[in-house]
C-alpha cells in the first residue's frame, strides 16, 4: 500500500505544525482564502495578517491526508515575509518534490493553490 510511507519532513511538518490554527484578531485585520474539493480529500483555509503589502503572519486549517497537511504547513511558513503580489505566483511544484508527494496525490495540491488565489483575491478586495 502506498499509504503509510512518508518522508521525515512530511512527518515533522505533520506532527509539529507551527502554523496550524488561527491568527489572534487582536493583532490586526485578518484576511482568509479558502478552497475545498472533498472528492479529492482536500479542504484548505489560509489566514493572513498583512501590513504594507507584506504577509506578516500566516496560518492554515486543513482537512486531508498527511501530505496535504504538511504542504499547507510549509506553504503557510513560506507565506510569511512575502509580498502580496508574490502570492498569485506561488508555485507548489518544488514543494511537491521536496515532500515526495506521490503522483496520485498531486491533484490535491492544486486545492492549496486555489486557496492561495482566494487569499490573494480577498487581500486585494480588502485593500
Amino acid at each position: 500500500m502506498a499509504t503509510g510511507n512518508y518522508c521525515t519532513e512530511v512527518r515533522d511538518l505533520f506532527f509539529t505544525p507551527a502554523h496550524a490554527g488561527d491568527i489572534d484578531p487582536a493583532a490586526g485585520r485578518v484576511v482568509r482564502g479558502e478552497a475545498e474539493a472533498l472528492d479529492r480529500t482536500a479542504w484548505v483555509v489560509f489566514a493572513a495578517l498583512c501590513r504594507d503589502g507584506q504577509v506578516i503572519e500566516a496560518r492554515f486549517r486543513a482537512w486531508g491526508c498527511p501530505h496535504l497537511l504538511a504542504a499547507c504547513e510549509l506553504t503557510a511558513a513560506q507565506l510569511e515575509g512575502r509580498s502580496v503580489a508574490e502570492l498569485a505566483r506561488f508555485s507548489l511544484a518544488d514543494l511537491a518534490g521536496r515532500l515526495q508527494v506521490p503522483a496520485e496525490k498531486l491533484g490535491r495540491l492544486l486545492v492549496i493553490e486555489d486557496a492561495l488565489l482566494a487569499l490573494a483575491a480577498s487581500i486585494r478586495s480588502s485593500g
Binding site: 500500500m1 482537512w63 486531508g64 491526508c65
Partner: protein
C-alpha cells in the same frame, strides 16, 4: 514511551509463544526434518506428527480430519473451493452465488469464474457486510453449483446466519462454501451442524503461523474439487507440494489453544471491545460501523466526524497499530464496498478505522489506545476548517 498497542488482530495475530515454541522444535528436531512423503522412519514420523496436528485443526471446526485439506492459507483455500468446485463440476451447472461483501480472495476468484463462463449472482450485503439467508434462498436456482458466503466479515466483524443457508443448500444439493478466516477459532463452528460443504480458514488469524491454512470438505465437495496445483499427490492429490511439517504443527498447536480458550476469550474480548467503544465516546462524533450484536468479539469498526483516515492512521501510529476501516490488510487499497453498502459516503468510509483485539489485548492497552485515538482525533479536528464535523460524516 511504551510500545504501541497492537489493535490489528483482524489483519494478523502475533504468533502465540507456545506455537512459536512448537515450531522452533519442529525446525530443529532431527526426527522431523525429513520429507513427510519419504518412506523411511524419518518421513513416517513427520507424517504421523502431521496427522496428529490435522486432527487438532479439524476439531476446531467439527470437521473430519480425513477430509481436511491443508493449504497455504485462506486465500488458497477460498480459491481451491471456488475455482476447484466450479471447474470440476462445470458440467453440472454454471451458476454461482456470492456477495459483494466478501473478502477479495472470494470476490476475485468469482470474477475469474465469470471470465471462465460462469454466471455469478452478486448479492448486496445488508448487515455490515453480511447477507441475510433470505437473499441467498431467493437467488438459488436449479443450476446453482455453489454458494459462497463469509462467516464473519473482515472489515466489520458482522456474523452471518449460516444455518438456514446450509439447510437450503443441502435441500437443493447445492454446495455451500464458507470463508471463515476471521471467525474460526474465535466462535464455535461446526461444519456438520451448519451444513457447510467447504470451510476455509487460516492459522495466522488465530495465533498460528502465516502461510498455512485449511479447507474442510464434505464428501460431496471433496469429490468435486479440481486441484489448483498438481504434482506429488499430497493431500489426497488435491493439493500437491511437500507438506510443511513445522507450519502444520504450529497450526495444530494454535488450533488446540484456540479451542481451549474460545469461550473465555470471546467473553473477555467482547467486554474489552465495549470498554474501548465507551472510552472512545470522549471524542464525540463517533459512529460505529460494526454491529453491536452478532459480531466478532474482537472487531470494532468505527468512524470519527471531520477526520481524514490516512491522517488519523499517521497521528495514532506511535501509540496504536490498527487498520483503516475501509481497506482490510491487502496489498491494494480500494475503498470499502462493505461500508458504502451500509450507506456511508466515501468521506465517511475514508474516516473509518478498524480496531481489532485478540489474545494479548488487555484493559490497560484498551485505555491507552483510546486515549491516544481521542487525543489524535481532537488534534486533527482543531486543525481542520470550521464546520468540518458537519461536512465529513
Amino acid at each position: 514511551m511504551s510500545a504501541p498497542v497492537y489493535l490489528d488482530y483482524a489483519a494478523s495475530w502475533p504468533v502465540d509463544p507456545r506455537v512459536a515454541e512448537t515450531m522452533a522444535q519442529a525446525l530443529t528436531e532431527p526426527d522431523l526434518q525429513a520429507n513427510p512423503s519419504s518412506s523411511h522412519p524419518g518421513g513416517r514420523r513427520a507424517a504421523l506428527a502431521i496427522e496428529q496436528a490435522r486432527r487438532a485443526v479439524a476439531a476446531l471446526v467439527g470437521a473430519d480430519p480425513a477430509r481436511l485439506l491443508l493449504t497455504s492459507g485462506a486465500t488458497e483455500s477460498n480459491n481451491l473451493a471456488l475455482l476447484g468446485v466450479a471447474r470440476g463440476r462445470r458440467d453440472r451447472g454454471r451458476h454461482v452465488i456470492t456477495s459483494r461483501g466478501e473478502h477479495r480472495a472470494v470476490i476475485d476468484a468469482c470474477r475469474q469464474l465469470e471470465k471462465e463462463g460462469f454466471e455469478v449472482t452478486w448479492l448486496k450485503p445488508v448487515r455490515a457486510g453480511c447477507v441475510d439467508p433470505g437473499q441467498v434462498l431467493e437467488a438459488l436456482r436449479k443450476d446453482t453449483l455453489l454458494v459462497s458466503v463469509m462467516h464473519a466479515n473482515n472489515e466489520t466483524g458482522a456474523l452471518c446466519d449460516l444455518a438456514p443457508i446450509g439447510a437450503a443448500c443441502r435441500a437443493r444439493g447445492t454446495l455451500l462454501h464458507v470463508d471463515a478466516a476471521q471467525g474460526a477459532g474465535k466462535l464455535p463452528l461446526d461444519v456438520e451442524a451448519l451444513g457447510v460443504d467447504l470451510l476455509a480458514f487460516t492459522a495466522h488469524k488465530l495465533g498460528g503461523p502465516k502461510g498455512i491454512g485449511a479447507l474442510a470438505c464434505s464428501v460431496r465437495a471433496l469429490t468435486a474439487l479440481q486441484p489448483l496445483q498438481f504434482g506429488g499427490g499430497q493431500e489426497q492429490g488435491l493439493r500437491s507440494g511437500t507438506s510443511a511439517t513445522h507450519q502444520i504443527l504450529g497450526f495444530g498447536m494454535a488450533a488446540e489453544l484456540a479451542l481451549q480458550h474460545m469461550h473465555a476469550e470471546a467473553e473477555r474480548l467482547t467486554a474489552l471491545r465495549e470498554r474501548l467503544w465507551h472510552r472512545l465516546q470522549a471524542a464525540e462524533g463517533v459512529w460505529r460501523n460494526s454491529p453491536a450484536q452478532d459480531c466478532l468479539p474482537g472487531t470494532l469498526n468505527l468512524g470519527f466526524e471531520g477526520v481524514e483516515g490516512e491522517s488519523l492512521m499517521l497521528a495514532i501510529q506511535s501509540g496504536v497499530w490498527a487498520s483503516s476501516g475501509s481497506a482490510c490488510a491487502s496489498a491494494s487499497a480500494e475503498p470499502s464496498y462493505v461500508l458504502r453498502a451500509m450507506g456511508l459516503n466515501d468521506l465517511a468510509c475514508q474516516a473509518s478505522l478498524r480496531l481489532s483485539l485478540g489474545r494479548w489485548t488487555d484493559a490497560a492497552q484498551v485505555d491507552r489506545a483510546a486515549a491516544v485515538i481521542v487525543e489524535a482525533v481532537t488534534r486533527l479536528r482543531e486543525r481542520a476548517p470550521a464546520g468540518v464535523r458537519s461536512r465529513i460524516r
